[in-house]
């Protein structure tokens, strides 16, 4: 790891080098220092409810198999056969007692153990011990309110510590009612953009909605609440690079379908009680858990993971989620809102993808790459708000969250390990 990234992000002055969105060496360093270190989102409990249920996903560019074993314990492994490195499971989801490699037939149980190797005794002359060649597990695997996260770094702090104050903000998406949420469906597609553009957008770009999404808002598929000039909207960063757009406590950003709006009115008191007094101060509607897991509750109800696929490509894994306790007609409406707003054909998603693609592709030019990105909106106009446990912008538009996101990115890129990061991280520690 010799790539020099110092100086590419100047969070204090809001200047960011465009090299970090295009250069292969920096991308390779990101895979090691960000994606092989951080806690990354895998899936929700409701996607693998029964023994044997599995799904395949990615952590960085590493293919990962998440599976609930026969005893009911969730495991996460590299989806790579220990023999010739073939991709073991080719399906996106399903149910299995064991997985059999397509190449030579090595067989792994749903707990990751190697259980059978064709001609093992004769061909290996008794020298291959099955116990030594199980699937490679992730270093740490934990769930928070049904959301499963994993990290490849044994030194990473526990998940709850990694999330910090972000945990409460996640609650406002997944723990609004008894029973939590369920994920009902997913989309998957590839965008020609760097993964950081969608991550920063969901983390704090309230500014683009009123202009870029004008058509989509006018169509009536969204309230466009983040464009509402009378809102007490703020950008909030609870630390560690996590970031959210929060509207005022009484602002409504729900999908504008009568059945959803009526449902939200019915449960409003219950939700506020469950989430506690902070819910009377602020209403988080979209955000990013550092580095690449975003949550949206406004126009559509969606979680998405921005999977890196090279500096110029991102694979989106997008999920529609809803309160488990919601009645069927509300669930149907939320599914519909999910497709309309944020999906490969979604009105908002199409606007966004076009911008992120061009923001990435123009980094190819020599002169274009030398032009730093202006990330200075609201510089000096944000402060730590103890009641919110977060740094909050003074105005409803600000790039304060962008700066928090890239500052964290920069700290991780420059720190040798988690220990060094704890020593150099300043702002979080001061207020903790």
């Amino acid at each position: 790891m010799t790539t020099e990234t110092a100086g590419l992000v100047d969070a204090e002055h809001g200047m960011i080098s465009r090299r970090i969105f295009i250069e292969p060496e920096i991308y390779q360093a990101e895979l090691q220092r960000i994606f092989a270190r951080c806690w990354l989102f895998l899936c929700h409990d409701s996607q693998i409810p029964r023994p044997g249920d599995f799904l395949t996903t990615y952590m960085g560019e590493d293919p990962v198999l998440v599976v609930r074993d026969t005893a009911g314990t969730v495991g996460a492994f590299l989806n790579v056969c220990r023999h010739r490195g073939n991709r073991l499971c080719r399906a996106e989801d399903g149910n299995a007692a064991s997985f059999i490699c397509a190449y030579h037939g090595w067989t792994f149980g749903n707990d990751g153990r190697l259980t059978a190797v064709p001609n093992r005794r004769e061909a290996y002359h008794g020298a291959l011990d099955l116990g030594d060649w199980g699937l490679i597990p992730v270093a740490q695997l934990e769930s928070y309110k049904g959301l499963w996260f994993a990290t490849f770094d044994p030194q990473a702090p526990p998940l709850r510590e990694y999330l910090g104050e972000m945990a409460w903000y996640i609650d406002t998406f997944v723990d609004r009612r008894e029973g939590g949420i369920e994920i009902v469906a997913s989309h998957k597609w590839v965008m020609p953009c760097n993964w950081k553009f969608p991550a920063e957008n969901f983390g704090g770009d309230a500014y683009h909605v009123q202009w870029n999404h004008l058509s989509a808002v006018k169509s009536g598929f969204s309230r466009g609440v983040t464009a509402n000039a009378s809102s007490t909207q703020r950008m909030a960063s609870p630390g560690n690079g996590h970031a959210l757009i929060c509207v005022g406590p009484d602002d409504v950003g729900d999908p504008p379908m009568p059945v959803i709006e009526a449902y939200e009115r019915d449960i409003a008191t219950e939700v506020r009680q469950r989430l506690g007094p902070r819910a009377g101060l602020i209403n988080p509607i979209v955000g990013t858990v550092f580095p690449n897991f975003s949550l949206l509750r406004g126009t559509s109800r969606t979680f998405r993971v921005w999977q890196p696929r090279g500096p110029e490509k991102t694979e989106v894994r997008s999920f529609v989620f809803m309160d488990k306790a919601a009645p069927p007609e509300v669930k149907r409406a939320i599914r519909q809102a999910g497709i309309r707003g944020f999906s490969p054909s979604g009105s908002f998603e199409q606007d966004d993808m076009d911008n992120w693609q061009e923001c990435t592709q123009t980094c190819r030019g020599v002169m274009s790459r030398r032009m730093p990105l202006n990330t200075r909106m609201g510089l000096g106009h944000d402060r730590f708000e103890p009641a919110l446990g977060a740094w909050v912008s003074d105005y409803r538009f600000s790039e304060s969250n962008h700066r928090q996101f890239y500052r964290r990115w920069s700290e991780l890129m420059e720190a040798a390990d988690w220990g060094a990061l704890a020593r150099t991280t300043t702002r979080e520690a001061k207020y903790a």
Partner: protein, 107 residues
């Protein structure tokens, strides 16, 4: 086998539809649809069929015969005529020269 007039009629209809899209006359294009249209693009999911040799199934109830798409999955697009008209009315073109592509699939 349909007669030549029917085939020609279908062809001319497709040309007309393509011309409307090329000219960005989306309101006129939408009028080609009947009121009961359900416009759905299916999303595909890769799944092992039950007979696959790549897995040993643990819980047969969790495996459907259908290995591509389950009925409850999200489409890529799923609208009726009323919502399509709504979207079209609000369309404010922001980009120059976006191309339309025309493909005809037989089933």
């Amino acid at each position: 086998m349909p007669d030549q007039d029917t085939i020609r009629g279908v062809e001319q209809f497709l040309y007309q539809e393509a011309r409307l899209l090329d000219a960005r006359r989306f309101h006129d294009w939408l009028r080609l649809f009947t009121d009961d249209v359900h416009y759905r693009m299916a999303a595909r999911t890769n799944r092992y069929p039950r007979s696959s040799k790549a897995i040993v199934i643990l819980d047969a109830e969790r495996c459907t015969e259908e290995d591509q798409e389950r009925a409850d999955e999200l489409g890529l697009f799923d609208e009726d005529i009323a919502t399509s008209m709504r979207e079209s009315r609000a369309l404010i073109p922001a980009w120059p020269g976006r191309k339309t592509r025309h493909r005809v699939h037989g089933t």
